[in-house]
């Protein structure tokens, strides 16, 4: 493999795995925030206890996933400079700004507030504590926005001009309102909510299958998960289709590959415009990914809608096969998300910044051996983390609310006093 292939493999593997954590994090955090808010505003002590347990149970699964998501995200921030220094040479004036703003405006706050939320149980006032998780949710989506602005520039560069081989920002507003960023953000937000909703509904259904005693907790979770995933999965398909005209306008080659018509003519036209080269992405990969995403999107939308109807008179919990279908649905939104990522990112090859800079030209001057070692190390670590993440999530999901560690204070032995504060 060449250095370019290794760098691409490294980027694709790390981003692809990171993306699977992101989609669940973004899907779970608003639902956890809703649960926490409901718990905080419930007066009846018994009900409140149930809702608080519910928040802590799902919150812990979210926090486990976030832990792995954040460490894989740390690597992403460095990848551009490590492997693609040509990107900062050409587009640094434009592309760097949204990344800088993402870290300063969104990520900084998200991580700090989540740390406070995790350790704030019984220590912070209830209103403050609930506000924190909403701030985490808000900043998670703000983070997504800035990342999509950066990615949107790579998909469809706007608001810039090229002088002496480098891009200069001319219209910040155009960069922020890039249709390639906004429609896609809307699409992934809905995909995330679908993923989170299906995740919660599926695990709740599993607990009913195992004859849980926490019926109130899991009924509430099931209802919330199904409502959110039904609505989100209905719109995710529609918003996904709304991207088609954007792609047709901005990335004619991706459109031609998806439609499977006119690829050869476009290749000839692009050669005339940009010089000799292969401007066709991996056609089969892109088309299959698109089909997988579409089929899963429609199927999940149907399943969640039927399940929502079956909630009436608890039929869903009594009909075991229906519950099993919900459990089996959990992985599919992840597969669809991976498919969507392939369509977007593989579909724009060979461009790094569409029409301006190819992936090949942006490669850092790093030796093949160094790329080979780092690629192997990162892939091994990321796969190990993914396996660990899913093993832990499965374990804590199966053990149920009783085993939740988040927010659980240990009993204080008799006669032992809390040490005095240091300052």
């Amino acid at each position: 493999m060449s250095a370019a292939d290794l760098a691409r493999l490294q980027f694709a593997a790390t981003t692809g795995i990171h993306w699977l954590f992101v989609i669940l994090t973004m899907g779970l955090v608003p639902l956890v925030a809703i649960m926490h808010t409901r718990a905080a505003f419930t007066r009846d002590p018994a009900k409140r206890a149930v809702r608080e347990r519910m928040t802590r149970f799902w919150g812990q699964l979210y926090v486990i996933n976030y832990a792995v998501g954040i460490v894989t995200g740390l690597v992403m921030e460095f990848q551009f400079g490590l492997s693609w220094s040509g990107l900062s040479k050409f587009a640094g004036n434009v592309f760097g700004a949204p990344l800088a703003l993402e870290t300063l405006i969104a990520f900084f706050a998200e991580s700090t507030f989540l740390g406070m939320w995790i350790f704030g149980w019984g220590r912070l006032r209830r209103g403050v504590h609930v506000t924190l998780i909403w701030l985490v949710a808000l900043t998670a989506y703000a983070s997504g926005y800035w990342i999509m602005v950066a990615n949107g520039f790579m998909q469809h560069p706007v608001g810039y001009e090229v002088r002496d081989g480098a891009a200069y920002l001319t219209d910040f507003g155009a960069l922020l309102t890039n249709s390639s960023a906004l429609v896609a953000l809307f699409h992934i937000a809905l995909a995330a909510l679908t993923t989170g909703g299906v995740f919660i509904a599926g695990i709740s259904a599993w607990h009913f299958l195992k004859g849980t005693e926490e019926t109130e907790l899991f009924r509430g979770s099931l209802r919330l998960g199904l409502w959110v995933s039904t609505i989100a999965s209905f719109f995710v398909v529609i918003v996904g289709e709304m991207q088609r005209p954007v792609i047709e306008r901005t990335q004619p080659m991706k459109h031609a590959v998806l439609e499977n018509s006119g690829v050869a003519e476009l290749q000839a036209r692009l050669v005339a415009e940009h010089g000799p080269g292969d401007y066709v992405p991996w056609q089969d990969t892109v088309r299959i990914s698109m089909d997988v995403m579409t089929i899963i999107g429609n199927t999940v939308s149907t399943i969640t809608f039927i399940a929502l109807v079956l909630l009436w008179k608890d039929r869903l919990m009594r009909w075991r096969w229906a519950s099993w279908v919900l459990v089996a649905t959990i992985p599919f939104p992840f597969v669809a998300s991976a498919g969507g990522w392939v369509v977007r990112e593989v579909g724009r090859q060979p461009w790094l910044v569409y029409g301006e800079l190819t992936v090949e030209d942006a490669l850092s001057q790093v030796g093949t051996a160094a790329f080979a070692v780092s690629c192997a190390v990162f892939i091994a670590i990321f796969l190990a983390l993914a396996v660990t993440n899913w093993t832990l999530i499965t374990r804590f999901a199966r053990r149920g609310p009783e085993a939740t560690q988040l927010g659980a204070t240990e009993p204080l032995p008799d006669g032992e006093k809390q040490p005095l504060p240091a300052f």
Partner: protein, 338 residues
């Protein structure tokens, strides 16, 4: 002061913030099997890790913000620097990924065997980034082998020079001492006493290895600074901070001692920045990439500044709030999650 100098100062503030906050995390990570282990009464907990827990997530973001600002405000430095330091950056990232995941997931394991694995990763995840950041500081102080096109690539010989190695080892020891100082500040009195003694021995180590780096510089085999006088002042401040920390630890002034180690961990960043200004990256030959070459276009910088003026004070405010909210010593009443 010009706009780009302000952004360089902000970049320095973020990196210094990361050295101070991430530094004590790494120190505690390195020392936790020795400092916080309590096999008899609470085998599943670690008191040293409990001390850093509420701040852990908020500390690491300083590094991410540093990288983001590096890319946003100094894109021409970012591409050169990160790809040039490729092996070291990869090593830091590997350490960060393993260490961060281990700190957050250690509490999820059920068995003592599982915890031992996480513990080992926590130590590696503290020691590896600490050492590599020290090596990078050493390389930047000494100057990197830039090619005519401005790019450079770090090989084994550059990293294994005595000066760079001395910087690496002394930084790792300094972070460890700083971490011990943090445990001394936040843990129960018995543990705090133990941590104080550890910090004293570690500071002696920093002084010994640091003196070696200083001697090498005086004999021309170490740092080659652009601004000699400024560098001498910053280096003197660094020595004073170390001495202050040692004195405070030996007298039992834990807050003063921690303040001093905070200064000592932040000052190397100032040394690199102010010592080489207006260069942001120097060659071994003495010239280099200036701030004007590295900075982003004026239009972009102005937009970033509008956001920066609003956002940076907010960041400092909520970070301070989080420190305030979780002040005080750790104890059993504290929710322990990590």
């Amino acid at each position: 002061m010009s706009l780009e100098t302000l952004w360089l100062a902000l970049l320095g503030l973020l990196l210094a913030g990361y050295f101070v906050l991430g530094g004590y995390d790494y120190g505690v990570q390195m020392l936790h099997p020795y400092l916080g282990d309590d096999r008899e009464t609470r085998p599943d907990r670690n008191a040293a890790l409990d001390a850093i827990a509420p701040f852990f997530l908020g500390n690491e973001v300083w590094l991410v913000a540093f990288t983001g600002v590096l890319f946003g405000a100094f894109p021409h430095l970012e591409g050169t620097l990160l790809s040039g330091l490729y092996p070291l950056i990869v090593a830091i990232l590997v350490g960060l990924v393993l260490g961060n995941a281990a700190v957050q997931l250690r509490g999820r394991s059920r068995t003592a065997g599982g915890r031992r694995w996480w513990d080992a990763l926590i130590v590696v995840g503290g020691a590896l980034p600490a050492l590599c950041w020290g090596l990078i500081v050493g390389l930047l102080l000494h100057g990197v082998p830039r090619r005519p096109d401005g790019s450079f690539h770090i090989g084994f010989d550059a990293v294994s020079s005595p000066f760079v190695l001395a910087c690496g080892v002394s930084t790792a020891l300094l972070f460890a001492a700083h971490g011990a100082g943090f445990v001394a500040l936040r843990s129960t009195p018995e543990l705090a006493e133990k941590a104080r003694h550890v910090a004293l021995s570690l500071l002696t180590g920093v002084a010994a290895v640091g003196s070696l780096a200083l001697l090498l510089t005086l004999f021309g085999a170490g740092a080659s600074m652009t601004n000699r006088a400024t560098s001498a002042v910053v280096a003197a401040l660094f020595v004073a901070a170390l001495a202050g920390a040692w004195w405070s630890f030996s007298r039992g002034h834990r807050i003063r001692a921690f303040a001093a180690t905070c200064c000592a961990t932040a000052l190397p960043v100032l040394l690199v920045g102010a010592g080489h200004y207006p260069y942001v990256l120097t060659s071994s030959a003495g010239t280099g990439l200036t701030i004007d070459d590295a900075v982003t276009d004026d239009a972009t910088l102005k937009i970033l500044s509008v956001f920066g003026v609003l956002v940076v004070p907010v960041i400092l405010a909520y970070q301070s709030w989080s420190w305030w909210a979780f002040r005080g010593r750790t104890g059993r009443r504290h929710p322990s999650y990590f």
